[in-house]
């Protein structure tokens, strides 16, 4: 049941016959550099055209499908399964890479589920096999009885590990977050596909770091800062983290962040931006190394960046993670206030 992918850089065949995986995941796990961004149906990056054969799109109403020419057979690879032999066109440069290092399916057990705030939980997944990932990458997570996958960034970092940590914010009507909050998830078997994503701090990479994030977007940034700290990054570079939450009580990972500030010897600054209440003091009552400011995180960052943009080194990297309006606002700050070229900005947008 061969699947043929015609791309700008030649033709590839997928020989695995695991029809339960999406075409995107089948291609990626075969080592192909297929185009994708969110891998969960919202961005529309992984569009392809079915030239022949039977391909079924699981979620035709996916936000990322709104611009597809369905009458011409266009689909999203991340939402589609092949029902037999088929030929597809992917309008991009695609290359074949090392299959052993490709993203793949990994099973694990959910452990250590704990509530961090009224609407945020974190948990670990004990993996059946260790996985290697880059700081800032994510996995697409599926849980028993829930349809569709959710993308979550790893919070921790280790070159290779069999324990990874995720953080999830409860969303109204969010199937996965409601399942986590219903207290039946501890010990459950869950399935992951990854690692995915390119908003990463690459090993050995140098440069000041300006990170802007809100809510659970902190996940991948925690991994990046953890990696940077372990690699001695802040002995020769500076860092700023702007972390947006609604109120002081909504802050989390503050103890860990205060620890990173301390280890950096002051080269890393952490600023908690409170959008829905005034900052009670200039620094956090329990973690004095964390600064407090009032306002939306990109506005707080815009004011802060003005003061230090002249001190940024040439290799500065901007990291942004969060919901689309926050990401767009933060990218604006990095371009116009921090004067970073677009090639030095890496973002992770989720909705």
């Amino acid at each position: 049941m061969a699947i043929t992918l015609q791309t700008k850089t030649g033709e590839f065949k997928l020989d695995s016959d695991d029809a339960s995986e999406t075409l995107l995941f089948r291609g990626l796990s075969a080592g192909l550099s297929l185009p994708y961004e969110c891998a969960t149906g919202t961005c529309g990056t992984c569009r392809a055209r079915v030239m022949s054969g039977d391909v079924e799109m699981a979620w035709p109403e996916a936000p990322g499908a709104s611009r597809l020419k369905r009458d011409k057979g266009d689909i999203l690879l991340c939402q589609s399964h092949a029902k037999g032999e088929c030929v597809l066109r992917v309008p991009s440069d695609v290359h074949s890479g090392d299959r052993a290092a490709a993203p793949h399916r990994i099973n694990g057990r959910l452990e250590g589920l704990k509530k961090l705030t009224s609407d945020v939980v974190d948990f670990e997944v004990a993996l059946e096999q260790p996985v290697a990932f880059a700081a800032g990458q994510f996995m697409v997570v599926t849980a028993p009885g829930l349809t569709g996958g959710r993308a979550y960034s790893m919070v921790n970092y280790a070159p290779e590990t069999d324990r990874i940590r995720f953080v999830v914010k409860r969303k109204p009507g969010g199937g996965f977050s409601n399942w986590l909050f219903a207290d039946q998830a501890e010990g459950a078997g869950i399935s992951l596909f990854g690692p995915l994503g390119t908003a990463t701090l690459r090993p050995g990479e140098d440069g000041d770091l300006v990170c802007i994030t809100g809510g659970s977007g902190i996940a991948g940034i925690m991994s990046i800062l953890d990696h940077a700290t372990k690699a001695g990054h802040f002995s020769s570079n500076k860092g700023w983290l702007y972390f947006g939450v609604r109120t002081l009580a909504d802050g989390f990972y503050l103890k860990e962040l205060a620890g990173l500030v301390e280890k950096s010897g002051g080269a890393l600054q952490v600023i908690l931006a409170l959008s829905d209440e005034a900052a009670p003091a200039a620094s956090h009552p329990d973690y004095p190394s964390i600064q407090l400011h009032e306002g939306f995180v990109h506005e707080v960052a815009a004011r802060g960046v003005k003061d230090f943009c002249g001190d940024l080194n040439e290799r500065t990297i901007g990291f942004v993670a969060g919901p689309p309006p926050m990401v767009d606002g933060a990218i604006r700050v990095l371009l116009s206030e921090a004067k970073l070229p677009p090639s030095r900005i890496r973002y992770d947008k989720f909705s």
Partner: protein, 124 residues
């Protein structure tokens, strides 16, 4: 058509973008970068984002904040991962008025020029 007035140059400060409805109901984006003006179709050639909202100019570079496609407005060179060039109207300034030479509305071919229909594209 021919040379048409877009706006006074003072109406669009440096490092900003403004969408103008020009004569004939043609939407034109005026971009004031360091050293000059450009007149462009008002959408990003990537995914049709409205550049008057999603675009930002710093120095000579205009970036669409949605997916970080970017162009040098002085040379029109594509920056970084950007895959498509900008289309531009010729411009000139007369008596403080920015003018554009508009023969017909410039459009990106999101519908017609579909590279997936182009067999040569996949057999190269």
């Amino acid at each position: 058509m021919s040379w048409i007035k877009l706006c006074k140059t003072t109406e669009v400060p440096e490092n900003s973008l403004k969408k103008i409805w020009a004569a004939g109901g043609i939407p034109i984006l005026v971009a004031h970068y360091k050293g000059g003006f450009r007149a462009l179709p008002p959408v990003c050639p990537h995914m049709e984002e409205p550049l008057d909202e999603s675009g930002i100019i710093a120095g000579c570079v205009m970036t669409c904040t949605k997916h970080l496609w970017a162009w040098d407005l002085a040379t029109l060179e594509l920056q970084g991962e950007t895959e498509k060039p900008l289309k531009t109207y010729e411009t000139k300034v007369e008596d403080g008025e920015l003018m554009a030479f508009v023969e017909k509305e410039l459009l990106y071919d999101f519908e017609d020029e579909d590279d997936m229909d182009d067999d040569a594209f996949f057999n190269s």
